[in-house]
Amino acid sequence: MVFSACSDYLDVNTNPNGPQSVSANLYLPPMLHWMVTSPQYDGRFVGRYTQQWTLPGTSLSTWDRMGYDPGSDNGGQQWRDVYWSFGQNLVDMNTKAQAQQRWDLLGVGQVLKAWGWQVLTDLHGEIIIKEATDPTRTAFDYDPQKFAYEEVQRLLNQAIVNLGRTDGLVDQTYLARGDHIYNGDRSKWLKYAYGLLAINMSHYTDRPSLYNPDSVIKLVDKSFTSNADDALLAYPATNNDDMNFWGPTRDNITNYRQTQFVVNLMNGTDFGVVDPRMSRMLAPAPDSQYRGLDPNVVGFGALTASQRPNNFYGYPTLPPSGAPSRYLFANKTKMPAMTYAELQFIKAEAAFRKGDKVTALAAYRNGVSAHIDFVNARNLDDNQAVTQISAAEKAAFLASPQIIPTDPNLLTLTQIMSQKYIALWAWGHNELWMDMRRFHYTDVDPATANQVYPGFRIPTALYPDNGGLPVYRIRPRYNSEYVWNFAALQAIGADKANYHTKPLWIIDPSQP
């Protein structure tokens, strides 16, 4: 009797600060938050590789030189979120959803799993998949990128089946409790799954035997049909963590400035027409001119204070709390995970490569038009300090033959990829960098003999460890792997000083 009493007495070790298990839909909100937000964390660094922006300082930053920060977790946020924020939570959610026949939630879970492997392999190349999420293991082998791509396809095909089901406990209300992107609408998640599969399939362009433009076009057509399908997360902005990462309160992008490269894409330098989106996306200097910085120049170079571009909020320094901001850089701006415009550019490229220029031009035009609407919509999300692009401005821009050729045969890869770059600028870092790597940053369009990315220059002072090569991948997260899983890193060569310059399998047909 005494011993059973003792047992009860000692039975106080169930953590009262949090449950051990919850209803399946309650695992979803943090994961959806990270699916949208995590790429922005790493976007600070990828954005410098891709010269969306630069970080002026007293010396050139490592990332502006296509390097990295040794011993730092910078560039490892998606690694963290896929393995930890998803990790066991996603396993538990999918297990419960399956057991409870919640096929819609299971489908969303499979989409998340696929999304995770897709972005991680695109950032890092070889990643841990088969052995992942096993708390008893002490070492984790890396799986090749080829497998990662096939695993994403496998998961998305399963998701497509599950999201098509209406039997079991499929329940929009239940799903909506955790899903604040599509409010539980499985038909939109189905389109999202098709879109993600299209993105996956579109990356094989450097591996012609595996690239199938027809299936890419088919998948895009089953996916988003307008901006209304865009996967957008609205930030409640009630505290630090549920606020847009780019908002002034988060103060994460305050010291960054736009590059010459992105300004030239929009100010007429590259295409002869001033893009009406420039003044709604980029930041003017105090003298109202739009300038960009050269990432090869330390700090602001010779620019005077009034010539220096403002930060992306539109101010020389961090504005006071509550001051209106711009575009995607406001506290409550909705951030996308995937957009209709993005997919239309993917379709345009596939059709272009296939030789179907008519389809390519139509999709391309849809992409530019839809992104102009997207910019307008975003600039209304949080009372941003910029005007709307008027219908007349939009019509005039779309009527410019330098932007939208009248003859489908005049359409160029440079136009498609540059407009896609603008449409992905400041949010679609994973896809944007994948695009640039597919074109090895400075590939020339054989049809025009012009660079696909006009005027893009590899940094002149590359990071010392690069050995003169541009960056092609981010190293696995330092504090996950470099101390605690080092043997596996050695097996893939990630212990080498220039590992980050090793091209990905998907863009390097010389790799088996």
Binding site: D11, T14, N15, N17, P19, T58, Q88, T133, N240
Partner: protein, 1020 residues
């Protein structure tokens, strides 16, 4: 449940009492105890042999006691041979004690509040008198222990009032958990928690505004005790001595006995008034002006200041002379037969810090009373209430010292507000980036705590039988700690969030009950006797922290969460329950050979069943060879000790299973925390043995107490050890570390001169210890406590084969001959991109505390010097300033130089490496300073001599008052060290951090000021 246990105990006691034999009538025995020379001997312990009934003689040597005819009275005190007298028909028993050259008959406190003569103790322990502690005039009494006990290391976090102090005995053995000893007050555990910032709402997982135990410090709660209430403090050094206290005493125990009333008490009053001034300040260059705005404020790599530039001495003007006053008033007394005794006391402390707005105020009210209810029952109640308010400046990078040093010397920092009353700015950096003006920091940011605490302890002693007694104690230690940390909306720390206000109310209570059945020493045969005890204990600790954070202030200066627009509440509950059963038996052969065997079994709530029940034994032996061999005893007294002990230790609550956390990301929901599951968690064990000897010569004028020990911890639980994220988690709580601690403790005492007019006593406490990591769980290469990674890339990394107090970092790369590798493009040394070992160890080679006491007539002088040899200190403050071009070492910035080393060109590890010949001019290539490795700022082998405290006191004639004296005390008056920073006693974290913590990491830390106190004491 708790109540039932108590009832069971009480019921058992009454049954036990009922079986007692009929009582002989008791009577009052009185008498006078004198020495060889006929002078009265005060404080002699007089007990009825075989019972716990006892008293002490008063200042006239008189005693009063209730006893029965046929019983035997024992008279024992330090320095005199024990005497025994039977109680006969006479009511007066006078005794003359013979002074002997031995301390062996001194009665001291041992484990579980038992008392024992020194001769019977087979383990290392050392006692400090309460008067010595109080005399040091430390507000936090723990700070008075450094140098007074061999093997004890005291590390105060900073010199700010209320700063936490960590104390370790025999070095660091746990990699991630606390290495601090258990505090025991009047037989029951006392909480010594330093609030961990992890419970603040700002430190919720994922928060961007976390403190990580770096930016703020809170008091270690043992400091709530009034030093003036301490009668004696005994340090049980190793598991051998503390094994019976169980799993919380694996790092030793500090056993405090509080003062009680005695016959002939009365009123006692003492006070102290002190003045503190800062000791030293960093030297900053005044040659080169600012070049650019860096990431926090100016960089000083610019053109020389023009002649005639006006400089402001911002540092000198900043500190203040701080005044502290303390008053203690106590009333005490006892009935002449000692059936009733009482002591009530009050203490008032008002301490100012040298940093403006820092202070600590404390009120202590204590009452202790004892009563002989009936012949076989004695009851004892102590209540200790304290109310402490503390205001500290923020700490480290958040603190004012960094701003004080990097603030332009050409600008008057005192002028910290704009005409509009807002923060005055000097750069075009954003509000969050420009370092805070120190004046702004201390006036607008704050860290305030209020602590209400009650420690109550009820003891009952039943002794209806002659063969033993039963002692039961139940106590509660409970406090409410209200913390408020403000980062002002305009300060660099708060600007990003437009102000952050953290509030946390920690309600901690711990209930402890302990019952011990004592069996008196029972003679067997041939000089052999045996005694011992059996007992059980119940412990229930619970802490509830209600925290909240308010962000985005409306009115920037109104401090209330109600004034914020973003609010985040957070609750953290923690509970641990422990049941234990224990026993001890001592065999005594002719009072010169003792063998003690103990055993204890614990049942803890924090380990999964059935591994939560574990038993561990100890055995110790004492051999007084000078009594065994009288020929030896003519020249000396001597004792040999040997002991072996095992002690188990449990995990922190909830360590085995992960819980889901509410996520503050968009739309809430749940997700796992960082820590993964470990269903196989089991207790860790330490196995320890020690040998020692206590010798005295020349009639006790020269004494030696030496101990060597060896302790190995296996299956050690490492909390928050990392693994690959492939696990699905970030951190784990794993068994599997092994550490080893070895050392030598030496206490020497001598009385070079003794006489009625002049005497001189010396006590030296020497300690040499080593702690080594033998292995880590899962063969992981490194484990560290993340809070210690507080500056650059250095942390308290533990790797197999290294000291338990090592530092790892991204140090310079070297070739196979140990020469620096140089980057061929810059001419600067290359740094490792991973954390590596370069042999840095913060643990000292040895420490020595030296106390000299001189008495001349009514004048006495007590001097404690603290010596330390070796141990590395990371001077991060110096690196921070060097990277900004502010230290004197940057003055040769225009001198071209070649860094000795070899070029990393592929030949670096061949027989013919390319020797570096690239000339660097730091002023042109400022990353010479800004990218410099922390390695150059880890100062090796830091030694010091420190005047810890010195007291001169004069005893006044007993004409109008008694026991009157006046005194002057100085603390930390001088420090001689090879450390280039302000003070090598630093902690980059607080005492809340486990493992080796942030001790020896100096970043923006304020040293302990120099303090001069005077006061008086008297009685009526």
């Amino acid at each position: 449940m708790m109540k039932n246990r108590v009832l069971m105990v009480l019921l058992g006691v009454s049954l036990f009492a009922a079986t007692g034999r009929a009582q002989q009538p008791q009577k009052t025995v009185t008498g006078r105890v004198t020495g060889d020379d006929g002078t009265p001997v005060p404080y002699v312990t007089v007990i009825v042999k075989g019972t716990n009934v006892g008293t002490q003689t008063n200042t006239e040597g008189r005693y009063y006691l209730r006893a029965q005819e046929g019983q035997v009275l024992q008279f024992r005190t330090i320095g005199f041979a024990q005497e025994e007298r039977p109680v006969t028909t006479a009511d007066v028993v006078n005794v003359q004690l013979r002074r002997v050259a031995t301390k062996l008959d001194e009665v001291v406190v041992t484990a579980l509040g038992q008392t024992e003569a020194v001769r019977a103790i087979g383990t290392a322990q050392q006692t400090v008198r309460g008067t010595d502690i109080a005399q040091a005039q430390r507000v936090n009494f723990v700070n008075a222990l450094q140098g007074r006990v061999a093997g004890v290391q005291v590390n105060s976090t900073s010199g700010v009032p209320g700063a936490s102090t960590s104390i370790t005995i025999r070095g660091t053995s746990s990699i991630s958990s606390s290495n601090q000893p258990l505090f025991i007050i009047d037989g029951l555990p006392m909480d010594n928690k330093t609030l961990n910032t992890s419970v603040l709402a700002s430190d919720a997982p994922g928060s961007g505004s976390a403190f990580n135990n770096r930016g703020v410090d809170f008091t270690n709660r043992a400091a709530d005790i009034n030093p003036d209430d301490i009668e004696s403090l005994t340090v049980l050094k190793g598991p051998e001595a503390s094994a019976l206290y169980g799993i919380d005493a694996a790092n030793g125990a500090i056993v405090i006995t509080t003062k009680r009333g005695r016959v002939g008490g009365g009123l006692e009053y003492n006070n102290a008034f002190s003045v503190a001034t800062p000791r030293g300040k960093p030297e900053l260059q005044r040659v080169y002006g600012p070049s650019a705005v860096g990431s926090t404020t100016y960089l000083y790599f610019g053109a020389p200041y023009p002649a005639g530039t006006r400089f402001y001495d911002n540092i000198d003007g900043f500190f203040r002379t701080a005044f502290t006053q303390k008053h203690n008033l106590a009333f005490s007394g006892a009935a002449t037969d000692n059936r009733i005794n009482y002591r009530i006391s009050s203490g008032l402390t008002r301490e100012e810090g040298v940093i403006p707005n820092s202070q600590l105020n404390r009120i202590n009210l204590t009452g202790a009373s004892g009563v002989q209810v009936v012949n076989w029952l004695r009851a004892d109640l102590t209540m200790n209430y304290s109310y402490t308010t503390n205001s500290q400046a923020l700490k480290g990078f958040n603190g004012p010292l960094i701003g004080l040093m990097v603030w332009p010397q050409t600008d008057n920092a005192r002028d910290y507000l704009s005409p509009a009353g807002t923060r005055r700015r000097i750069t075009n950096l954003s509000t969050a980036s420009e370092v805070d003006n120190p004046y702004f920091s201390v006036n607008k940011n704050h860290n305030d705590t209020k602590n209400n605490r009650l420690i109550a302890n009820l003891g009952l002693l039943f002794n209806p039988v002659s063969w033993g007694n039963l002692k039961t104690n139940i106590g509660v230690d409970t406090y409410t700690n209200e913390t408020e940390v403000l980062r002002h909306p305009e300060s660099a720390l708060g600007a990003t969030y437009n102000g952050v206000l953290d509030r946390a109310d920690d309600i901690t209570r711990s209930i402890n009950a302990q019952t011990v059945l004592n069996f008196n020493d029972h003679p067997l045969f041939g000089g052999l006797s045996i005694g011992g005890f059996l007992g059980n204990g119940i412990s229930d600790y619970k802490s509830s922290v209600d925290a909240m954070k308010g962000q985005d202030f409306l009115d920037p200066n109104f401090v209330s969460v109600n004034n914020t627009t973003l609010r985040l509440p957070r609750t953290t509950l923690s509970q641990r329950r422990l049941l234990s059963a224990f026993g001890s038996a001592t065999a005594n052969y002719n009072s010169y050979l003792y063998v003690t065997v103990t055993g204890r079994n614990d049942w803890t709530s924090t380990i999964p069943r059935p591994r939560n029940s574990f038993f561990y034994p100890s055995v110790s032996s004492s051999f007084v060879f000078s009594d065994a061999f009288p020929t030896v005893g003519r020249f000396m007294t001597g004792k040999l000790r040997a002991a072996y002990a095992e002690v188990g230790k449990d995990a922190r609550p909830y360590a085995d299973r992960p819980a889901l956390e509410f996520k503050t990301t968009s739309y809430g929901g749940f997700g796992y925390g960082f820590t993964g599951p470990n269903p196989d968690l089991k207790p860790e064990f330490a196995r320890s043995y020690e040998f020692g000897t206590e010798l005295s010569f020349l009639h006790d004028r020269l004494g030696v107490d030496a101990t060597v020990y060896h302790k190995q911890t296996s299956d050690q639980i490492v909390n928050d050890i990392r693994g690959s994220y492939g696990t699905g988690f970030v951190l784990f709580n794993l068994n599997g570390a092994r550490t080893r601690n070895t050392g030598l403790e030496l206490m020497l005492r001598g009385t070079p001169i003794t006489g009625p007019v002049f005497s001189w006593d010396v006590v030296a406490n020497f300690d040499r210890s080593r702690g080594k990591v033998l292995s880590l769980p899962r063969h992981l290469p490194e484990s560290y406590v993340s809070d210690t990674w507080l500056f650059g890339n250095v942390r308290n990394g533990n790797m197999p084969g290294l000291s338990t107090e090592s530092l790892t970092g991204m140090f310079y790369l070297r070739n196979n001959q140990g020469r620096l590798l140089i980057d061929p493009t810059t001419g600067l040394p290359l740094r490792s991109s991973t954390f590596i070992n370069r042999g840095y160890d913060r643990h000292p080679d040895f420490t020595l505390g030296l106390t000299n006491t001189f008495r001349y007539s009514k004048l006495s002088l007590n001097v404690l010097l603290d010596f330390r040899k070796g141990g590395d200190v990371f001077n991060a403050t110096d690196q921070y300033l060097t990277a900004r071009g502010l230290t004197m070492r940057t003055l040769d910035r225009n001198t071209p130089r070649v860094i000795p080393g070899v070029i990393r060109d592929g030949n670096e590890n061949t027989d013919h490496p390319t020797v570096n010949n690239i000339v660097v001019v730091p002023s042109q290539q400022t990353n010479y300073y800004t990218a410099i490795s922390e390695e150059l700022f880890i100062e090796k082998d830091i030694n010091w001599v420190r005047l810890k405290d010195v007291t001169l006191s004069y005893t006044l004639p007993d004409r109008y008052v008694k026991n009157a004296s006046v005194f002057v005390t100085g603390t930390d008056l001088f420090l001689i060290t090879n450390y280039t920073g302000l003070d090598p006693i630093v902690n980059g974290n607080s005492a809340a951090v486990g493992g080796s913590g942030g001790a020896g990491i100096d970043f923006g830390n304020f040293p302990t000021p120099r303090t001069f106190a005077f006061g008086l004491r008297f009685g009526l």
